[in-house]
Symmetry: C2
Amino acid sequence: MMARKMILSQPQTKYTMMDKEGYQNRLEDALEALLASAQKTSLDEAIRYCILGGGKRVRPLLVYAAGRALNFDPEVLDPAAVAIELIHTYSLIHDDLPCMDDDALRRGKPTTHIAFDEATAVLAGDALQAMAFEVLSQPVHGICANNQLKMLNILANASGSNGMVMGQAIDLTAVGEALLEDELETMHAYKTGALIKASVLMASYSCNETDNADLMVRRSQLEDYADAIGLAFQVRDDILDIQSDTETLGKQQGADIAAGKPTYPSIIGMDAAKQKLLKLHQEALDSLTGFDRNADLLREIAGFIVKRIA
Amino acid sequence: MMARKMILSQPQTKYTMMDKEGYQNRLEDALEALLASAQKTSLDEAIRYCILGGGKRVRPLLVYAAGRALNFDPEVLDPAAVAIELIHTYSLIHDDLPCMDDDALRRGKPTTHIAFDEATAVLAGDALQAMAFEVLSQPVHGICANNQLKMLNILANASGSNGMVMGQAIDLTAVGEALLEDELETMHAYKTGALIKASVLMASYSCNETDNADLMVRRSQLEDYADAIGLAFQVRDDILDIQSDTETLGKQQGADIAAGKPTYPSIIGMDAAKQKLLKLHQEALDSLTGFDRNADLLREIAGFIVKRIA
């Protein structure tokens, strides 16, 4: 096969620190560059439609923010940021399929199987998963090969039958079931939590260090942070499903309730769900004790996740 | 997430050379060990159903045979052999879906979406793809990290929108089209050829050598071999679709013709297709000039591919 060059980014200026918008723009540029050489088939069109179609980019932002908290340059963080967004987007495409959640709207646009067709949606998802591992397996200046292997292993484990895919499988069987709160938590730990944790973990391996005790402590703190905001993200999602509207959400309001899916408000009540959200926010902030001002973006993201309206 | 230990194999005896059946048994053991710790969900059941359900195991056999031709121990070849079979199996599951080829029979058994359901089939395929990269990203004694990254990159590239998935996309749009012979060849180069070439290439990187001139020459010869047998495999498949029967094939005889898919016999005629097969067989053998008796299994596989009845 002709080897497609995976161009990850062509930064215009040299910088080491950016704000939220700066990182988000950086990611959009990297995704655009990655797909610029795509051929003009409907598969490539579908891939561009899904990837360049917006989205909150929470997971890549977490990669950049966790890397910044560790004083890493954005350049070494691009592969993990791009890869995690490719995996997340593939999962949305497949989750929206008629045989799964059967959703017609995503990120404010028709879902991929509506805009194209089901076969193309399945294939676009499959291709995006492969692309994530392709991006992450290209040599990166500033990351040793052993750490890159570790990042690939983290991403693969978090994506598959021991992570995100398992979460979606539990989700499908949970429809109409009266789950206990800890069962709901387990489902989300797989379905959403795994990729969120992978984001900060991959960031922490985006370097040449393999045996740095301080880094290992920081990594463990970042894991705690990810556990808290991962769950908070889902609690907030469940609240928004009830309290927001379709236009703001970019997907059908009330879809989870209508589908008979268990949610935090339906299991523990709306007030308790909101209390839980505040508690998780505090846990996220506490886990960053000892981190300096470079972790402020992580703190900001925790706030964004619990207060977001879409 | 709990990290599942990816156990690849527990060989009973020490050996460096095996015959075809020996390698195939070795692969079955490795796959069984990999899935032994799987939980008892329907997703895990579906994964076991697909992976342990037989199959010719041509691609893993090519990994072992190419590695043997280079005098590599089977131990270092297990990850690539397992990974390529996981990718191949996921592609079969997704290709059989109602929105794709809509096949009910595979490897002599009901296809995954029939034996389980469509959602489980989509998820099992997704999980198997992730599992392939998980297996291949675990440190392997005898393969340096740089070579492992290269193997991951080869597999990801061959699987995605620049390889196998692109081939399936072309295949879907080619239904009912009058393709030229070279267009058919391009489709197969993506759809089948990419993974077959990846098999021998991954084998050639399953070592600690990164800069060995002799190995690079051998690698290039193995690529030529893979090009020839990859295409031969497809020509033979098209002939069998017409001349074999459903029970022998383990899938519906005449399915390609019935679906209006372009095939070699339909484009160039049955006689020319058979001639082409013989020519490709000779090319495969010629590409191995200079290899010693350790390449005999590769020679045997070339013969098997052109003469197989299923």
